[in-house]
Symmetry: C2
Subunit: 109 residues, 2 copies
Amino acid sequence: MDIQKLLKKYVPMTETAFYILLSLTEPRHGYGIIKHVEEITVGRLSLGSGTIYGTLTKMQKDGVITVFADEQRKTVYEITDAGKQLMQAEIRRIKEVHHNAIAFEEGFS
Amino acid sequence: MDIQKLLKKYVPMTETAFYILLSLTEPRHGYGIIKHVEEITVGRLSLGSGTIYGTLTKMQKDGVITVFADEQRKTVYEITDAGKQLMQAEIRRIKEVHHNAIAFEEGFS
DNA sequence: CCTTTTTATGTCACGACGTGATATAGTCGA
DNA sequence: TCGACTATATCACGTCGTGACATAAAAAGG
């Protein structure tokens, strides 16, 4: 799948997908991602097992992540270059939303 | 519906819902919202008619927005106090995501 | 040693959501 | 009058996150 179709499919990204890809800048397995996301969101976001394993399978098929190591009880993934491009586009969008959110706040204070 | 259930239902908010509520800090009708969102996102986000009218009906039922004026060919809506509370919670979340996005960027530059 | 908790992955039904097509109709300028 | 724009509504479709259920190995604790 070429980068244009990936951009259309993945941007805007769901919060879940964003934090999964963010976690995979270091090689991690599914369960490790769940714990890492809980950590950096200070317990606010707790991903369900269906979300994680379904999303990981989908992302691997799309070439957004790749298998880093396949151990007995752990499948370790890592983000690909295509995945990094998606993150850059998503971060641009987040900056726009953040900018509009701040402008909103200033209008009501 | 009490504020706790509304928070659970609306936060995290979809980008669409966020921009609709943002637009309704001034009274606007459906079509006006579509044009306003196109404006503040510089044409990036163009809401479908199904999205707008479906979402407006849902939000009105939930007490997040209210009918400001009911003209012949325009139903004008406005955000409620409950809606403003949701926006505050959503903006807190956006700030967190933005913070983590910036931290990600710095790790790859 | 046995039991409980934690780690780890997978599948499935469910409800919610955004999209785009289709339909309908009034307004306004050329 | 005729097309472009304004304005709303409904529907099928595909996608997504959730939580329940299932399975099983490893680690911790008594």
